[in-house]
Symmetry: C2
Subunit: 627 residues, 2 copies
Amino acid sequence: MSILDFLLGRPLSSREEQGQRIAVLAGIAIFGLDALSSAAYGPEAALTVMRPLGALGNQYLVPISLSIIALLTIVFFSYRQTIAAYPGGGGSYTVARENLGSSAGLLAGSALMIDYILNVAVGISAGVGALVSAAPSLQPHTLALCLGILAAITLINLRGLREAGLIFMAPTYLFVGSLLLAIGIGIFKTLAAGGEPTPVVAPPAFPPQIAAVGWWLLLKAFASGCAAMTGVEAVSNGVTAFREPVAKSAQRTLGIIIAILIALLGGIAWLGQAYHIGATDPGGPGYQSMLSQLLGAIAGRGAFYYVAISSVVVVLVLSSNTSFADFPRLCRVIAETGYLPTSFGARGRRLVYSEGIVVLAAISGVLLIVFGGVTDRLIPLFAIGAFLAFTLSQAGMVMHWKRTGGRHARHSIVVNAVGATATGITVVVVLSAKFMEGAWITVIMVPLLLAAMVAVRRHYESVAQEIAAPLEFSPGKPNPPLVVLPVQRWSLIAAQALRFALNISPDVRAVHIECEESDRLVKEWQDHVARPARESGLQEPVLVVIESPYRFVVTPILTFILNLERQNPGRIVAVVIPELVESRWYHYLLHNQRAALLKALLMMKGTGRIAIVDVPWYLERKQRGGD
Amino acid sequence: MSILDFLLGRPLSSREEQGQRIAVLAGIAIFGLDALSSAAYGPEAALTVMRPLGALGNQYLVPISLSIIALLTIVFFSYRQTIAAYPGGGGSYTVARENLGSSAGLLAGSALMIDYILNVAVGISAGVGALVSAAPSLQPHTLALCLGILAAITLINLRGLREAGLIFMAPTYLFVGSLLLAIGIGIFKTLAAGGEPTPVVAPPAFPPQIAAVGWWLLLKAFASGCAAMTGVEAVSNGVTAFREPVAKSAQRTLGIIIAILIALLGGIAWLGQAYHIGATDPGGPGYQSMLSQLLGAIAGRGAFYYVAISSVVVVLVLSSNTSFADFPRLCRVIAETGYLPTSFGARGRRLVYSEGIVVLAAISGVLLIVFGGVTDRLIPLFAIGAFLAFTLSQAGMVMHWKRTGGRHARHSIVVNAVGATATGITVVVVLSAKFMEGAWITVIMVPLLLAAMVAVRRHYESVAQEIAAPLEFSPGKPNPPLVVLPVQRWSLIAAQALRFALNISPDVRAVHIECEESDRLVKEWQDHVARPARESGLQEPVLVVIESPYRFVVTPILTFILNLERQNPGRIVAVVIPELVESRWYHYLLHNQRAALLKALLMMKGTGRIAIVDVPWYLERKQRGGD
């Protein structure tokens, strides 16, 4: 256990739960990383769509960013209200389920689960991708780097929420600080230059214009830019992780995250337009990220540039941590309603929902391995889940206010209805714009996951019904079982098992598969067992020798037991299996594992009337022999 | 089981053993493939060493081949005698062990085991290498081809010795036939041309001479050429596989194999010299195997050439089959003396020693994977094992004749002593010539394997001593165990387990880890269990509720059981574990596997006084409830 203690920390008592709760500053690092890191790729995604417009595309960056910021503001007010209304953790699942019915809840839940899983794979792979393009010699180790980072993040999260917050705070604030500083310098320079600043390092020239401005293109640019909004729902899912007063702490955290995000998005857009920055071809040789261009234009390629760019890479990698904070909580909430295995609800040694963390790490690890650590093709998939959840959760809030009324109900309904409509439209736009690029996978995955969850709940219901407690239990007169004891040769192991058998029932049958040593066993049984039993006036244990022309050992014993059970209705058959327990794992190879095989087959083929009794014999350890 | 029947054939009864024995023709295919295929690479190996001599090297081919043939003849007579002296299977292990002591036996045994394993990897990889150089588009699939062939050969061998013989006969005789035919044509043409035949396709020119003729070079060439002798010991290991009279059949098989091998080696050497054939650089671009040059020179590049070359490739691949015939028999013989796990001695459904086959396939599969299907670097390793075994076995025979005497003892001693000396010298030459190239690995592996086998035997001896049958067994008065029953909630599963517990002992304690449902369980236990038991006048089963601040469930139960055992010396503790058995494997994920964990921990941490009783409950199957 000491290795576990070292890796994961000492177990925390359930009473220490309050100490694990987090305050606003840590909350921003834990639940905000996903949202904040979006600022690094959202505006670039919009610009990339507008590349066919050449230099003209740059002109639309500010208007598109403003619409995204407007939508973000609506979503912010909407989630603020959700947090206030659901201080017990108002994830999209809960809100949609309670207000729109369980199907809507499951739809939001499965969309979010897929979103969280993709976020881990894409976040880590994007960060490693940036690292590898800076240090090409690491290229062959892409997958190993991805998996190593995944393992580290998993371990940190298993150590508990508080520790994760402490560890992730420094990079988060370095990222926010250096970007805000760069934006401040940029704004100053731009204003000083009368709106036309001279870049320190000039950005690449725009490609020639090859398309006309059209509504569909601008809508697609908007939809791509909406990637900047993913991760905003995180706080509302994790309300219960905050210190008292939970709702206030959570609201304040969300408010600060959104404010920073708006400052970053607005600043990047305005400066991007002022410095005439366009997107470079993402797959092409001269690729340079928009943030890199902007930082170079504002501050040149000095130490500051490298600090800022490094913090971007780190935050991209760590953005996956938000999934680790939220996915287990989401799974727990769904498990509590019976749609996922109950074990998702158990708190591990550090009071986190360990199973959710491990499952998330495993699935995203598989994704990383399948895609070789390069998950670009998954990116189109993952805004859909987030926006579907936004829409359902806000539609749910509209119903909530309608039902509960209250002082500001009318006002709240408007806020949430506008939010639901705007995000709903975004879902449709993103889905149609990116359907062929891979969004269709989400369209298939969500219903599959939903169906699986319904099947899980149905299974639990049928089991619960099947094993419902009996109204009456009559102990009755004890009825000792029929005992079967497989014996290979007469030894201390067999003797110990026989002693146990005779202690639980007078009715013992030893079975033996005929081999070269059979005659000897029959004689020894007569001398050492049958005769002493007769002399003590006990019922004589029978030795049954079974022929086996095909040299099978386990199958004939199994057949014997199943026949015995069939011929003795109303009696329980107890199979007493003497088993050698090796003191070293490699000794395992030296002894045949027929006992294990027989146990497994009895478990599989048995009926409710066969019990399996293991009488272990510990090799090379002092047996504390019984009676 | 029907898939197994299809893949491996129906199980064979032990009485069908005689029908599985093989005659001379099949014996040549099974035990001779390794030896015969050596003709394809032995002479070439000698020529390759002599490349620095340029055209001069060619002149030494016949003398070197003659010395190898002489050594081969000695070894042949020596093994003929071994077969006669050990008709029960006189492998090098048995002969060395019985005459020189068990250390010598283990030395021979481990050398042979390593030789057999390497032979599989090298044979398959050499054949696939030849195939790939003929069809370069297969290059990327090298490893897959190797593993596919390994799987096919394994499967054929698991189907039984007789089937393997039948399947491998055709390629063996095609190989022998086409090579002998080519040699015949070549001899005719050479004689007709007065010793200087005109090649149909001229072989490549010799490289310039860059070294002088020296003893060490010629000795190295001889040592390399000795690779042609590997596989000769195979028949003597497998004597018991032959039809009656076993010794005669085996001797005749060995005689024919050696005669063909000598004809092939002699013919190839003589014609190689007559046609002025030299070795090309094995790693170089213009590489062409010596056999390919010779066949081209004799018969041109027509259909015959391709048939003959294909048969060479097939036979190289199949030469690994000899290992599959012998390795399991060797392991069985070693296992019977206690130095390897006893399971190597069990005959599988088709009367072959399946475990040895599977282990051989697994180890050589790992070798192939580690070396990516290209095992050139293993080749230097594997003549050593064979020659070490030759030497020990013949030295053993010298002692055998000395001890037993007999009519021709003097004559036999001379034959075997010459053989032992010649092969012993070869071991030293090969070892020193190839030490740096990889032979040192064998020098490390053999002692390691030897030490492992000694450890295995020591373990078996200590176990046998520990569990030796008790002289006296006193059944005594039955002493019912103390029963512990972990209960999570009151359900039909718990009720079934409790019923079993009460049937084997009146002394039952239920343990429960405190949780939210504890109060309900305490009440239900009172109503459904304690009260009815009291009313029936039975001993009341106690319910023990244990607190668990760290939310562990299994550990506190384990501690409770271990304490109970310690506090009740002289009593056996039976832990009755109610276990849900899912009807579908994926339902496994939906239920926590605490029962399995508790069982595993009890098995590990338990003492000889704790028995584990599994009372399975079959979900979604009609329980045939007891009493």
